[in-house]
Symmetry: C2
Subunit: 275 residues, 2 copies
Amino acid sequence: MKYVFTIGMFSKINRITTKTLRHYDEIGLLKPEHVDEFTGYRYYTTSQLVDLHKILTLKQMGLSLNDIKEVLENPKAIDLFLKLKEEDVLRTIEAEKAKLLQIRSYLSCREGEYEKMYTPIIKELPEVIVASMRQVVENYGVFFHLCPNVMAKEMERLGCVCAVPEYCFNIYHDGEYKEKDIDVEICEAVTEMKEDSDILKFKKIDKVPSAVCVLHKGPYERLGEAYAFVFNWIKENNYEVLDHPRESYIDGIWNKESAEDWLTELQVPVRLKVD
Amino acid sequence: MKYVFTIGMFSKINRITTKTLRHYDEIGLLKPEHVDEFTGYRYYTTSQLVDLHKILTLKQMGLSLNDIKEVLENPKAIDLFLKLKEEDVLRTIEAEKAKLLQIRSYLSCREGEYEKMYTPIIKELPEVIVASMRQVVENYGVFFHLCPNVMAKEMERLGCVCAVPEYCFNIYHDGEYKEKDIDVEICEAVTEMKEDSDILKFKKIDKVPSAVCVLHKGPYERLGEAYAFVFNWIKENNYEVLDHPRESYIDGIWNKESAEDWLTELQVPVRLKVD
DNA sequence: GATTGACATTCCCCTTAGGGTAAAGTTTAT
DNA sequence: ATAAACTTTACCCTAAGGGGAATGTCAATC
């Protein structure tokens, strides 16, 4: 075996490209033992093999070249880097498993329906201050009358300023579906707390770390489909419901003429089920 | 709720950055509904919400923006993309699990020994044509005499040309460790097959898809440590041995004076155990 | 009407770990 | 001497945006 290898030979021995070797030289990870002063040719020897072996091993474990460089300069740090990487890998595995469930749920959920599928997404819901009005209303018609007429006026009276972006949602407190005497709470995000009045209460709602959200387009009568879908999705993807769902109103009668254009987002606070 | 949102407002509603929205505009993934002709200001409306929701969902499943773009343009392709992605995710999970085992094996294997650790790496061994000489030798001393004197001369006599890079290794055919009467085969990579002679046989060795390799620095008496290490590693990392290990000689007496500088690579063909 | 602060625009460089290509120089073999 | 094989540097490219600078616009206040 010859003493000295050109970059091409060294790359063949180690089954990596010359590009990679030049890159490692450039970032100071693995310098050739000798560089010709005039031609710039790189010459490697077997003494580089041990370092390269270590580099490739650490790379196989998933460390970045920067981390590897630090490890080579300070071998005592290797435990630290590997422990951090271990956690990192565990997180990656969890994330990939979540993707897998989501993909499979999507694939199994429908057979050939391409267009009208709901696409659930996990979002964080930020902390928010709301003005809330909770009532038992006779039916939905009454409710839609109540909202602009009573609530908006009361908010104005108390000097409320709506948050931007606007965020208005309902929470249904009945455990079951009801057509009459619905216990509904309507919340509107505002910039600051005010004195509670008889009909309007203020509260700070904590951040929700993760909520499954789906967009529903169309009239409210078909919201049931969205509910059915999202609860099924939650079960299939191994989540559990943490709180009442929120119905967030984006487009509606105040905005779009046709009920087909109304847009509502369903937001269900969840967490991964701990088995 | 207002009809039209500036980019900042739209970013707040959807909890993504304006950078991201501009990027999506640039690559044609999500165009704002209206762009002011003179100022270039982007204006979004709720009609973008459905598409954006879908984009974010698909992104959460791990699809690239390019793939998402194709899916939006041709919704029927979504099944194909998701199935490919599913396999991709499965591969990623396997790869991450392998990393995890490797990291943990490294961490558990030693307590505070930073320097003299072996660093195993999984490599592919390419297909190779070898001139091989198999004999039962009395002891290692005889063997080291045999190699240059008998084998090299016979190779020269037959007109063999060594492959570049040089690749010379031993295979021990005894199932157990022996000090005497060792059944050893010495192989040297050559460029082409020749007529077999009494002492020299030619054969093509198939590619080995994966082999665990460790570098051993020092005299051959301590090779046992490397063997112990690598077999232990194989067990811990859920691999199984497929073939005889190869001892590949890199630096040795022909090269380096001090036995402490000798370099040998142990290569053990393996595969992941199927449970 | 003028100013100010918040918000918007484009432009350019940066991230990882190299890949691809081009133009020019070097080594080795014929 | 010349051609083939090899090497060098230099420049641009990847995915999904992040950071910042210089500049332009909008809405509200003075």
